[in-house]
C-alpha cells in the first residue's frame, strides 16, 4: 500500500481554541477515506488545511511523501467538492468543467477531449452548454464532481457534498459517487456528519470529536468495536449505563448496574473489581424475555413504554436506580406483545457488551 496523503501531527489553533488537535492519518492510494464527526469537530478545518486554504499551526502534510505545506492552494493539485456546490454561475457546464484544465494551460483539443469524456462519465453530455441555474441540484453536484476529477488531482476532497440535497437524491448520488470513485481509482477524503454515508461509502473512517481523532478503522470495525465511548454513542445507537465491576474471572467480568442487575462482559483486560465503568450495548443486541422467579441473576426491569416503528418495535425498560434501557426487536406478525408495566428479563450476550471509562462528569 502506497501512501497518497500523509497527515502528520497536524494541529490548528484559532486564537485560543484548538480546532484540530494533533491529528495523524495515512491515506492509501485509491482509498475512500471519510472524516466523520458532528459540526465543529474539526473535520472541515482539516480538509481546508489539506486543500491549502488554511495553514496549520504545526505538523506536516505530505502528498506521496512530498511535503506540501508551502505549496499555495492553487498549485496543490487537489480537487475539491464544496458543500454548496460552488459552481461558477456565469459559466456553462462545459466551461465549469474545463476551468481547471484551462488554468493549467492545457491545449484546446485536450480540454475538449477530457471534458467530453467527463461529461460522458457523469451522463450530462447533452447539457454541456447549459447554465448552472438551468440544472437541478443533483446535476449541479455532478458537474462540480466532474470539475474536480477532470484535473486528475492527487486527492479528491469532498466537504459534505450531499448535505444540500433531498433524501432520494442523496441516496442515489452517494452510490454514484462511490461508483465513479472506484472507476477512476482516485484517492478521496470525504467529510460528513452523516454516519450512514460514512459507513456505506468508505474504505476507512476516522471519527473525530473536539479536534481529535477518536478511532480510525473500517466501517464494520467502527460499528462493532467502537474504541471509545464517544464512537459508541456517535455511530449507531447505544445504551450507555453507569455500572461497577463486580468480579473478574478468566477474562469475563460481571458488572453491576441499575437496581441489583448484573451483566457479563467478554474479552476484557485491565479491569479490576470495584472500578466504575460505563456499560454500553446496542438496542438490537438485547432481548426482552419473560422474567424468571429468581431475579438475583441477570438484568431485570419494568417495561415502561412500547414504541411501535413499523418493522421494529422498541421497548423502554426501567432497570431501577434511574437507568433506562432501550431494546429494539424485529416485529413478526402474530408474535406475543409484552405487557406494559410488566417485569422482564433483559438478555444481552457477553460479547456484545463493551465497557468504557466513565465520563468525568
Amino acid at each position: 500500500m502506497t501512501t497518497a496523503v500523509s497527515i502528520d501531527s497536524i494541529t490548528k489553533r484559532f486564537d485560543g481554541t484548538t480546532a484540530v488537535d494533533d491529528v495523524t492519518i495515512d491515506i492509501a492510494r485509491g482509498e475512500f477515506f471519510t472524516l466523520l464527526g458532528s459540526s465543529g469537530c474539526g473535520k472541515t478545518t482539516l480538509l481546508r488545511i489539506i486543500a491549502g486554504f488554511l495553514r496549520q499551526t504545526s505538523g506536516t502534510i505530505r502528498f506521496a511523501d512530498k511535503p506540501i505545506d508551502d505549496v499555495p492552494a492553487h498549485r496543490r493539485n487537489t480537487g475539491m467538492v464544496f458543500q454548496n456546490y460552488a459552481i461558477f454561475p456565469h459559466l456553462s457546464v462545459f466551461d465549469n468543467i474545463a476551468y481547471g484544465l484551462r488554468a493549467r494551460r492545457c491545449a484546446k483539443a485536450e480540454v475538449e477531449a477530457r471534458v467530453g469524456q467527463m461529461l460522458e462519465l457523469i451522463q450530462l453530455a447533452a447539457l454541456r452548454h447549459r447554465r448552472p441555474r438551468e440544472l437541478s441540484g443533483g446535476q449541479q453536484q455532478r458537474v462540480v464532481l466532474a470539475r474536480a476529477m477532470v484535473i486528475q488531482p492527487d486527492v479528491l476532497l469532498m466537504d459534505e457534498p450531499l448535505s444540500n440535497l433531498d433524501t432520494a437524491m442523496r441516496v442515489h448520488l452517494r452510490a454514484e459517487i462511490r461508483a465513479l470513485q472506484r472507476q477512476v481509482g482516485i484517492t478521496t477524503i470525504y467529510v460528513t456528519h452523516d454516519q450512514e454515508e460514512a459507513l456505506l461509502m468508505s474504505d476507512r473512517v476516522a471519527v473525530m470529536s473536539h479536534g481529535r481523532v477518536e478511532q480510525i478503522a473500517t466501517p464494520l470495525e467502527i460499528y462493532n468495536a467502537p474504541r471509545t465511548r464517544f464512537v459508541a454513542g456517535f455511530v449507531g445507537e447505544c445504551n450507555m449505563l453507569p455500572g461497577k465491576v463486580a468480579e473478574v474471572l478468566d477474562g469475563t467480568a460481571t458488572v453491576a448496574l441499575g437496581d441489583g442487575g448484573r451483566l457479563a462482559v467478554d474479552g476484557l483486560a485491565g479491569v479490576a473489581p470495584g472500578e466504575a465503568r460505563t456499560v454500553a450495548f446496542r438496542p438490537q443486541d438485547a432481548e426482552l424475555l419473560p422474567a424468571p422467579d429468581d431475579t438475583t441473576q441477570g438484568l431485570h426491569g419494568r417495561l415502561v413504554d412500547i414504541q411501535f416503528l413499523g418493522g421494529t418495535v422498541r421497548f423502554v425498560v426501567d432497570i431501577g436506580a434511574g437507568a433506562i434501557v432501550h431494546v429494539a426487536a424485529q416485529r413478526r406478525t402474530g408474535a406475543a406483545i409484552p405487557v406494559l408495566g410488566g417485569r422482564y428479563r433483559l438478555d444481552v450476550p457477553a460479547h456484545a457488551v463493551r465497557l468504557f471509562e466513565p465520563t468525568a462528569a
Binding site: 492553487h74 496543490r76 475539491m80 460552488a86 461558477f88 488554468a103 493549467r104
Partner: protein
Amino acid sequence: MNGTLAAARRLLGFWPAVTAGMLIVTAALLLLPVFNIVGLSFSGGETAASVLDNYRKFFSEPYYYRTLINSFIVSISATVLALLVGVPAAYFVSRFQIWMRNLIRAAVVLIFVSPPFIGSYSWIILLGRNGIVTTTLAEWGIPLPSIYGAQGIIFVFTLHYFPFVFLLVSSGLKSIDQSIEDAARNLGSSELATFKNVIAPLLAPSISTAALLVFIACFTDLGTPIILGERFRVLPVLIYGEFVNDFGGRPVLASTLSVLLLVITTSALLLQRWYASRNAYGTAAVRPLTLQEQPLGKRLLAALFVYVLVGMALLPLANIVVSSFLKANGPVLLAEFTLDNYRRILGTIGRPLWNTIFFTTTATLLCAVFGTMIGYVIVRRPGRVSSFLDTIIMFSFAVPGIVLGVGLVVTYHHPPFSMTGTALILILAYFIRRLPFSVRSSVGMLQQLSRDTEEASVNLGAGPALTFVKITVPLLSVAILSGVLLTWSNTIRELSATLILQSGRTVTISIEIFNEVVNGNFGVASALGTVLILLTFLPLSVLFTAMGKREDALV
C-alpha cells in the same frame, strides 16, 4: 531556508501587493492631505508665538467663531426638521395606501440626486427679493419671510436632504417583520403606541444614520450658504473665503478652519456609529411590514402631507427647467418663452461639458476598479491591515469636499507636483471622495457571496489574480455596475472640492452654474442646470428601470 522563502512568497503575493498599493493610494490622497492641513494649522505662521495661535485667533474673534455657531444652528435645525418630515413621509408611503406611491419614490430620488446649489438659486428665483412668488404675493399684500440668511438655508437644506431620511427609514421599515407589529397590537398596544414603543426603536439605526448623513451634508455644504447666506456666514463659506484670500501663499487659516470642520464631522460619525452599534438588533424580516388598511380621512391627510412635501422639494427643479426656457434680464425672469439661454450656452458649454464628463467618468472607473479590490481585501482578507483600510475608507466619508480640496492643494500645489488646476488633481479628488460608494457596494455583495466559489477556482489551479478576474468580478458585476452608476450621478455635481481645485482650464458645469448664479445670469444658469440635472438623472433611470434596483440602493 525553505520556510523563509515561502514566507517571502506569501508576503509578495497578489493580494498583499494590492493591499499595499491601496494603502499607498489612500494615504497619498487622503491621509497625507489631512495630515498636512493639521500640521499647517499648528504651524502658526511666521510670527507665531505658540502652535495654538491659529485656534486662539479663531475662538477669540467673533468674526470667526460666529461661523461655527451658525453652522451648528443651520445643521442641527435642518437635521431635526428633515427627521420631522422625513420619518412620517417614509412611514406613510411604506405603510399607508397612498396614491401614486411609486411616483413619489421616483420624485424623492430625483430630489436626492439633484445638485443642492441648484435648488438654492432656484428658490431665489421663486422667493427672492424679486422672486416670482414674492412679488405676486406682495401685490396681494401678503408678506413672505425672507429666503436669505439662516432661515432660508435651513429651509433649503431641509427640503433637499430629507430624502436621506426617507430612503433610509423606508429600507429600515422593510427589515421589520409584520409579526412584530402584530404581536404589539395583539398585546393591546394602540397604533400610535406601537409606532412609538416598537417600530421607532427598531428604526433607531436607520434614523441615526440618516441624521448623521443630513447633519454632515448640511455642515459641509458650501454652495447653498454662499448663494443664500448673504451676511450670515457658515464655516465652509469662511474656509472658502480665507482660501481664496490666501491663494498662492500658505492657506494657514483655511487649514485651521478645515481641521475644525473635520473634527466636527468625524466626531459626528463616531458618535453615530457608537449609538447605532448599541441600538442594532439585526432583525431580518421574513414577511416585511405590510400596507395597512386606513380610513379614507387618514389616507387623505397622509397623502396630502406627502404630496405637499415632495411637491415643494420638486418645485425648484421644475422651476429650473421652466426658467431655462424663459427670457432673462439678469436675475429677473420674464414670462416669455425663448431658446436664448440654450443658444447662449451652446458656444461655451463645450469645454465644461467635456471636462465634467471626462473627469466624472475617469474617476468613476477608478472607483470601480480600486473600490472592488478594496472591498475584496476588507471582506476576504480580514486582519489588522485590512481593518485599517476599512477605517480609512470610513474616515473618508467624514472628510468634507472643501477640506479635501484644501488638503490636496496644501500637499500637491508646490513643485515637484504643481498639480493644482490640473485635470489629474480633480480626478483624484473625485476618486477619493466617492471611493467609499464602490467599496461599500462590493462589500455588501461580497458578504452575501460564499467564498466557496472563489476557493473552488483556486483549488482548480487558478491563482488569486486570475480567480479575482475570472470569478469574483463576474459574480460582482451587478454590484459593480450599480456602484458605477451611483458614483457617476454623485460625482457629476461635485462643487465644493472643485471650487478649490479648478482653474479656468478645468472648469466643470457645476462651476459654470455657480459662476453664472453669482454673476446673476439666472437664465443661463437654468439652462446649464437643466443639462446637469439630465446628466445626473440619466444613469439613475438606467439603474432603476433596466437593472430593476430599488431606490434604497442609493443610501
